[in-house]
Amino acid sequence: MRQSKRVFVRTLVAAAVVAAFAAPAAAQQTVKIGLLATLEGPFAAGGQDGMRGAELAVKQRGGVVAGKKIEIIKASSDAKPDVAVNATRKLVEQDKVDIMVGPLSGSEGIAVKDYSKTQPNITFINGSSGAQATTLVNPSPNFFRFNTEGAQWMVGLGKAALDKGYKRVMVIAEDYAFPYSQVQGFMTEYCRLGGKVPVKAWVPLGGKDYASVIARIPKDVDALVVVLGGADAVNFLNQYEQAGGDKPIIGGSITVDQTVLNYKGKRRESLVGTLSAGPVADAYDAAEWKAFVADYKKNFPDGFPSPSLFAYVYYLNMKAALDGLAAVNGDLSDGQKKYREALSKLVLKTPTGDVHLDANRQAIGSTFITEVVKDPQGNLYNKVLRKVDGIDQMLGMKKEDFKIGSRDVPDCP
């Protein structure tokens, strides 16, 4: 009995010693990166494409950075903040990732940012979440965002709308942080230049019935600003057409994304001429962008005809994670201090121009103003009207005057 107990204890000690030596040795050869996107719920298609984008960034480096193998561990959420935090916690605490990339949607981003404060030795890099508050309110020292957010994506669209002669518009948007930001990005400029927004309709995310909203559209508005994502946008477009609607549409950044452009319904034809703005434009003709699109198509023949916003933004953030890792030569010691410094100073070369971070670790970057046109094969795509560079989170306002967008901010009836 005693003998067996002693053997048992010895085995335990031996196992512990082996584990203690084995763990750092393994850590030196691979860097684990957690990747979180929504593979369930309303953004499942977007989440899947986001994963493609992130994988592309790893593939471009051959899966190795500074002699270390990159191991990606994926997790899924359903666009709910509690699910996102649970998934992130599993990646960080159970799978022991060194770097975390994700999540996809706005309120998930805020929740993960809050969680990142409890893990100061892990570096969190955003996926594609675009809530302003993530980096403006209570920023976390180890949360980085190399993509511009929802409000920045709409800068320049207000002017483009006025140029088209839309003097009064109605806003139809989903009722949560991301569309608030998008509407603010649009309205800040639009109102400043004299446009009017008499009605704003906030609809629940995942809504199926837009009849009551369509009934509220005033006769005297020139266009509709529709900030709905994925399936919601398709539903709205369908119902608006069935109700005989014919007003031109100004889209949010995820409204006339590939998800909607690939839509096969009748409204597809009337999408032509739709203005929108965002950090990507399919038809941007810079060589770097074309190379990126070709690479995406080559690696993911089952993907979209052109990478979606989610794919692109996940690509950016994963690329930043890897570029930062290369800059410090894979050195993640000392609570990843050097790595974080490198990320803060990083000038990220992206297919759409250089991106650098502000004091809150938030990207300052470019936005495209686009218009939907039809190519000779009958595919719809976003033609670039203009590229606006160097947009920061204050949207050209003074810091004192700036308030985060909400249902009632900004306002110009």
């Binding site: 899947q48 903040p81 935090v85 916690r89 599993k90 159970q94 809050d114 009722d175 629940p204």
Partner: protein, 393 residues
């Protein structure tokens, strides 16, 4: 399942549950040691005998395991697996109490928990200072539990006049309506975004959000809920409730107020769910309409059914399996199809053991006991088939 079938299933359950009690009588010869001691020292007798009769080795083992668990498990396993399983188990326990002992399946138990969670966010602190009142926790928590319990009773009062599938329908309707109310009301419930940063209070200098304190906090309330249900089902109220489950008309004829008993059962279940709801909002640190959506209403039912509705330990077993699957299914299967594993696992358990994990365990024990009995040539214990045959009095 029709109301009659449901009642029949529950009848069988009650009978099957009766036999472990017989077993306890059989074990009685082990007690004399304690008995003789109790005669020797008259100051000890009652509680020692009480303990020796009710506590067996496996109880001690389980108790020791749950107490030691956080010291051997990683913080992740303590918090996200242990803590979450206990909270979800506690909420599902309220459904097990209603369903297993009252014969009423309510899908609104997560709604009651959600009401408690929202009340904590509204009366306490959150990232929405325009709405949250910022009251201290010792006012907020009792108030939240009281309001949620009242709502639980109200839901019960609305639905007790229905039976079987209609109870499920009406409670589902209430749950879904509550979800949409939360999603679309902005002045009070902050719509789709809900409340973020609903932090666990720091009491006695302990951060109750950190894994080990949180685990023990939840463990305490889970045990409290478990023993409350264990106790209640032996009280005259609990016995009457089970009588009402088996035959409401007969109980009515005997002079029991069927509706009052059922509403009280809902109130008790509401209380358990409310405590679970407060702990759940502290676990997540936030509450959104997604937390009380249809998915979660059904998840609670899944947890309860998975574990088995015959015994208050069932929902906790179900919750452990559920939480493990939610966390690790993605590792064992294709990352984009992992929900299939979860679904297939649930299907397998429900298909092969209609009374959940508890049923599996009981069948296994019955088989072992049968082998045991044969080898020892002692009096054969009633087999399951015998129990089933005897279920119609």
């Amino acid at each position: 399942m029709s109301a009659a079938q449901w009642r029949k299933a529950m009848n069988a359950g009650a009978q099957a549950q009766a036999w472990p009690r017989q077993r306890r009588v059989a074990v009685a010869p082990a007690a004399p040691a304690a008995d003789s001691r109790s005669y020797a020292t008259p100051s000890l007798p009652a509680w020692l005998r009480w303990i020796s009769q009710r506590v067996s080795a496996r109880h001690v083992l389980v108790m020791a395991f749950v107490l030691i668990y956080p010291w051997v498990a990683t913080p992740f396993f303590t918090f996200q697996i242990g803590g979450q399983a206990l909270v979800l188990g506690l909420i599902a326990l309220s459904l097990t109490f209603l369903g297993g002992y009252g014969g009423m399946i309510s899908l609104a138990q997560m709604t009651v928990a959600g009401i408690a969670g929202y009340m904590v966010a509204i009366f306490g602190t959150s990232s929405m200072p325009e709405i949250s009142l910022g009251w201290p926790w010792w006012v907020v928590v009792p108030l939240a539990i009281a309001i949620a319990t009242a709502c639980g009773a109200l839901i019960g009062w609305l639905s007790v006049r229905t039976e079987g599938i209609y109870t499920i329908m009406i409670t589902l309707a209430i749950g879904v309506a509550f979800h949409y109310l939360m999603q679309q009301n902005y002045s009070l419930f902050n719509g789709w975004q809900g409340f973020q940063r609903v932090l666990t209070p720091q009491v006695l200098g302990i951060d109750w959000r950190s894994p080990i304190p949180y685990y023990y906090l939840v463990l305490f309330w889970a045990l409290a809920g478990y023993f409350l249900v264990k106790y209640l089902v032996r009280t005259p109220f609990g016995i009457a409730l089970q009588g009402i489950r088996d035959n409401p008309r007969r109980m009515n004829a005997l002079g029991f107020n069927v509706i009052a008993h059922r509403v009280v059962a809902y109130a008790v279940a509401g209380l358990i769910a409310a405590v679970g709801g407060v702990l759940l909002v502290w676990y997540n640190g936030l509450i959104t309409p997604g937390s009380v959506g249809t998915g979660w209403l059904i998840n609670i039912l899944i947890i309860a059914v998975l574990g088995g509705m015959r015994h208050p330990i069932g929902p906790f077993l179900g919750a452990i399996v559920f939480v493990l699957l939610q966390n690790f299914a993605i590792d064992v299967f294709d990352r984009e199809r992992f929900n299939l594993v979860i679904g297939a696992m649930f299907l397998a358990i429900v298909l092969f053991s209609p009374d959940g994990l508890l049923g599996l365990w009981q069948r296994l024990r019955a088989r072992l006991a049968a082998g045991d009995a044969q080898s020892r040539l002692s009096t054969p214990r009633p087999s399951r088939r015998f129990v089933k045959g005897g279920s119609q009095p």
